[in-house]
């Protein structure tokens, strides 16, 4: 078995003639954090939806653990989806259920666990994200950062091999952003799963990434360790990093 959990080969997708993905080639290593970085509206979410079969490409292949998923039927696709957990941009918690039931939902629906076992795992996951005392709250009573943490607990519930993060720090204040990125790093160090994050939050993501890939104009223009990306000579990379105005990133200044 090779060490890539996800391999994308020459992926193309357009909507009504507008090219969004223009030949993506990308690999996510097993047990590492891969961050796909790029500007908003640049096709990052579209790329992520292809990884989990929510969208079908016009052309190209997506390999998950050695299985090519773009031509699978829904039932076979569901087998592959069992390997995934996902944290959605707005957390996508079921708003008719409280925090406990949200995290318990995949356990109750996908396994035959006893309710005692379910409770044990939910408590453990909620403890990991620091929300043990909030089981009875409804999603509407939680702040944005708390929703994301519950979303992470739910994504981790079934102990999946690969966890996807769609803009985990967008719409959060800098301090909450920091706790969420730390939480991502902590859980990954602890669980050793494959994490794939899409984000435009350069500062936060460069801190936690093992590999950074930059998406620009529907292509991956550069990929490497955060250090390599910071030193990259590619015009697009320099331009993007410069625009962040963060000291030490491609000529940003205070």
């Amino acid at each position: 078995m090779d060490d890539s959990a996800i391999r994308i080969v020459d992926l193309h997708k357009s909507f009504k003639g507008q090219v969004v993905l223009d030949g993506i080639n990308l690999e996510a290593k097993r047990g590492r954090i891969t961050v796909i970085i790029g500007k908003s509206g640049g096709g990052k979410s579209v790329l992520m939806k292809h990884l989990i079969g929510l969208m079908k490409p016009d052309k190209g292949e997506v390999w998950i653990d050695g299985v090519e998923i773009t031509r699978l039927k829904e039932r076979e696709l569901n087998q592959v989806r069992m390997k995934f957990g996902m944290l959605f941009q707005e957390a996508a918690l079921f708003d008719s259920m409280n925090v406990f039931d949200n995290v318990a939902f995949p356990l109750r629906e996908q396994t035959n666990m006893s309710e005692r076992e379910v409770k044990r795992i939910v408590d453990e996951r909620l403890k990991e994200v620091g929300l043990l005392g909030f089981t009875e709250k409804l999603p509407s009573e939680l702040s944005g950062g708390m929703k994301k943490r519950v979303g992470l607990a739910r994504a981790l519930a079934l102990d999946p091999e690969i966890i996807l993060f769609d803009e985990p720090t967008s719409a959060l204040d800098p301090i909450i952003s920091l706790t969420i990125t730390d939480l991502i790093k902590e859980t990954q160090t602890h669980l050793k799963k494959t994490y794939v994050v899409i984000s435009h939050d350069v500062l936060g993501m460069f801190r936690i990434a093992d590999t950074v890939a930059m998406l620009y104009d529907g292509k991956i223009v550069a990929s490497g360790t955060p250090h390599e990306i910071k030193r990259s000579d590619r015009g697009e990379v320099k331009e993007f990093l410069k625009a962040t105005k963060i000291p030490g990133f491609g000529g940003g200044e205070l």
């Binding site: 929510l54 087998q79 995934f84 996902m86 959605f88 996508a92 708003d95 995949p106 996908q110």
Partner: protein, 257 residues
Amino acid sequence: MFSGVIKGLFRPVAHFTSEFGRIWYLLMDTAYWTFRPPFKFNYLFKQMEFIGVKSLGIVIIAGSFTGMVLALQTYYGFRRFSSEGLVGATVALSMTRELGPVLTALMVTGRAGSAMAAELGSMRVTEQIDALTVMALSPVKYLVVPRVLASLFMLPVLTVIADFAGILGGYFVGVKLLGINEGVFISRMVKYVELADIYNGLAKAAVFGLILGVICCYKGFNTRGGAEGVGRSTTEAVVVSSVTILISDYMLTSLMF
């Protein structure tokens, strides 16, 4: 230019047929998931409560006032040729064959159908439906099947109640207010209303339940574009369901009676 005219004429037809095809596809998908275990009775009962029990009030009000106004109108008609005794039978026949099922379906569409479309629509735009898919669970099984089955089961039940409320309303106006002889009122009703009238009305109600359940779920499920999209699909759900109910009412009636 000529081809432009053809296209302009053809577009609504194409839109209609593709919508119809997709609603049909959702109906087939719902049928498929209905018979696949594990069965989610708790979701079904929750929807039956929402669609059925919580619609009781408006259905009773709509039914009884319709029966009352029917008694009033037919009384003035029949009095011209001294046949006031037929008011009871007329109210009962109109309610069971026609007004009971149709009024109930329209009221439930307005109350529960719009809520279904809005709920599913906001679940779509906040990615809760995608979240189910990612968990390898069928959104149709968890969200559409309970709603469609609940409206299929509850519409006939609500219709019986609306029929009863309507007849009671007619009795009140006819006998108590207008002074029609009670014995004549009831005996004519018993004589002219057959069980088949009631059954056919209930069969229509079940079909209406299926129609409004599938259309409202379809509209909610295919919502695009944030809060505005939710509003749009809610409106469309009510309009399309109501119109389809009225059209299919004529078709069913002409087939049945």
